[in-house]
């Protein structure tokens, strides 16, 4: 069955509010084999009716969000009823419940609020536990002869829509969808390697499997590889992905690289310290976004100034003088020093030139050294990321985390 989503609200088109409904609904309905085939966003006004008219004839399931409130720009209910030739009727039960809700909160009743108790004839009310605007479910019989569209009118605020969707919409969907197509979805996240390298390795082989749909999504230092298709085909694709990319995949779930790291360290009862110059706290910040980080991150040192590198990490001042603060030697000493000071199993250290200033011919902006220190050895990598400051930091963090992840994942 074809499903579409219409987001209404001038605030969305003005850029004042970020829509979250598409991502939420897409994930909820995936299990039924349903996908949103198209999403439209339009402002409040007559355009809603025009757009709904088009969508009713294109899809069997139409989700509409927004425009169910009490104010004059909330017209979704009226426009839909008019389009489908349904009379609006005041629902006594809904009216009483609205009045009770407001009284409980000490809010004065206004006549305009009664609009929210208007229900198109034959529509089913979807209760709203978190707001005053009920949702509505109705069938759009506008094209005689073909199946009618199932229409869900849902409130705009996510904290109202989301519980309503799970409690009321999902049970209705369960009844109306035919047995879901056996479409499966696999998802792999890979750090540090670029999307064209990944495609080069597995793209052709995967597309040779009939029915497999591939998707790549790249962020700084990270690529998502998505495979969708009939379950047998996805199974075959999964085998290829694991054989050819196996150890570069850091998760096949929805985890972040730092979540994977914290989990691996915790499982081994090992600990980490960070010594950051050019990443300026990003490593520590990302690690501490993960619940349970306190068990694995013993300390983080942000040592921008050379004095701090010497004072806190015990870097030899002569090394800085001889090789420069951005050098393999200093990265190594920073990693070793942090590990020793924090008494941790591992330490990650970064030193580089984030820019926009501070580069030289020998060491241009973007030059960076990343060290992974452990008991008996310290591995240092030199990289070059000539990017804007935040992207640079993100790319360096990905390299550092991936060095540690591979170390932790390697067979003993």
């Amino acid at each position: 069955m074809r499903a579409v989503l219409l987001n209404t609200g001038t605030e969305l088109l003005a850029g004042d509010v970020q829509d979250t409904h598409l991502a939420f609904i897409a994930r909820e309905i995936f299990g039924f084999g349903l996908r949103i085939e198209e999403r439209r966003t339009v402002g409040d006004g007559a355009v809603i009716g025009k757009t709904l008219g088009e969508l009713f004839s294109r899809a069997e399931i139409v989700f509409v969000t927004g425009g169910l409130g009490p104010t004059s720009d909330d017209i979704t209910r009226d426009v839909t009823a008019e389009l489908l030739g349904l009379e609006l009727q005041e629902n006594a039960e809904l009216l009483a419940s609205l009045k009770g809700r407001l009284k409980l909160r000490g809010i004065t009743w206004l006549p305009s609020i009664a609009r929210q108790a208007q229900v198109p004839a034959g529509a089913q009310i979807l209760p709203n536990e978190n707001g005053s605007a009920s949702g509505l479910y109705l069938k759009a019989n506008i094209n005689p002869g073909i199946d009618s569209a199932h229409v869900f009118l849902l409130p705009g605020p996510p904290r109202e829509l989301q519980p309503m969707f799970r409690e009321s919409v999902m049970p209705i969907l369960r009844l109306i969808v035919k047995a879901p197509d056996p479409v499966e979805r696999r998802f792999y996240k890979i750090a540090v390697i670029g999307e064209s390298v990944i495609e080069e390795k597995v793209g052709q082989k995967l597309l040779a499997i009939s029915g497999v749909e591939l998707g790549y999504c790249a962020r700084p230092g990270e690529v998502d590889l998505r495979i969708i298709g009939p379950s047998g085909a996805v199974e075959a694709a999964d085998k290829i992905v694991r054989a050819d990319l196996g150890d570069v995949i850091f998760t096949d779930g929805d985890k972040t690289l730092e979540e994977v790291l914290v989990k691996l360290l915790a499982a081994k009862k090992q600990t980490l310290a960070t010594a950051e110059s050019c990443t300026g706290g990003l490593l520590a910040n990302r690690i501490t976004n993960v619940a349970g980080a306190s068990a694995v991150l013993l300390a983080g040192y942000v040592c921008y100034a050379n004095e701090a590198k010497v004072d806190i990490l015990g870097v030899d001042a002569r090394s800085i003088e001889r090789h420069g603060a951005v050098s393999e030697e200093v990265a190594r000493e920073m990693g070793r020093g942090a590990r020793k000071r924090a008494r941790s199993t591992y330490a990650l250290a970064t030193t580089g030139i984030a820019g926009p200033d501070g580069g030289s011919e020998e060491k241009p902006v973007g030059t960076v050294y990343v060290a992974l220190a452990e008991e008996n050895e310290t591995d240092v990598r030199k990289l070059f990321f000539p990017s804007d400051r935040e992207t640079f930091k993100q790319l360096v963090a990905q390299v550092a985390f991936e060095m540690l992840r591979r170390k932790l994942s390697a067979p003993a």
Copy 2:
């Protein structure tokens, strides 16, 4: 002129990636009197051509995002050229620049990458400083007799699209739009205070000015106040805002709180150190996102473990034992110790319970102490932010930064 936006990408419809382009583009083009009238989101595939066909006849300006990369699902360029009957030609200059870009980064050249040098006949190339996919500007002459649509094909990653939009798309738009309506827009950013408090202070007064449109946008620990209207009305509103909110506004431009801090510190030639427990490096990370941070941030200490608080910051182990690591006394000692160790003008310290675990009846999850240490005094504030982990960290950082900003902005 009518403007529409088409977001392409199966990852958007699948809910894997959140679109940010609508909000960004809407705000950018506002100054030209342009508003996005409709936004559509479709997956990768033939549907792009069908949708573009509809949009070309409905709007004079069409923005298309995504699908310009090197992989097989990137077909926006091809579909658009086909729809408009334009031949794709390899652009030698673009090919050379692509090759140079990859060489600079030490990335192996793959034949698939050459697709990104294909340009529809007559299209103008929009350079991409932050990625390999160039943007394209072309005119869609599909309906003889009526004005042709201006079409912009833009890359999917926001960090590529946004600079390209500002540098290349805006100058073209400036040429093609008619003179914008004399609508002005002012923008104020306020930290720590909630939007209802702001509305309570100035809302009624501002709305009493004829023609003024108000907007509030709240993020954790930060509110944007937006005023739109005819220039005289906006001028009058600005006077009220400055009189009633003056010292709580940290910028009337597009600066972040950390940018304001780095600028204030640099102007006074003063320096900062951070001592973070519950914020885990977020303070240092945000400060070091600002170019020039190295001149003001001397060191950052992420001291999760009590041992690190004692070892690095010189916190008295007895204070931790007597008052707990999350206490006014320990926050004060962390601030003082960090300042002393880094020899900085100021130090900010945070200690709290981010959760989800670690709370007690006396100190529930969300309890936090923030200290601002300077030469002769240390100010400590106790706060309570029972939120998810990342929001908690963000709220605490806002409080810490705002404490320092007010100190730096106060008349001597």
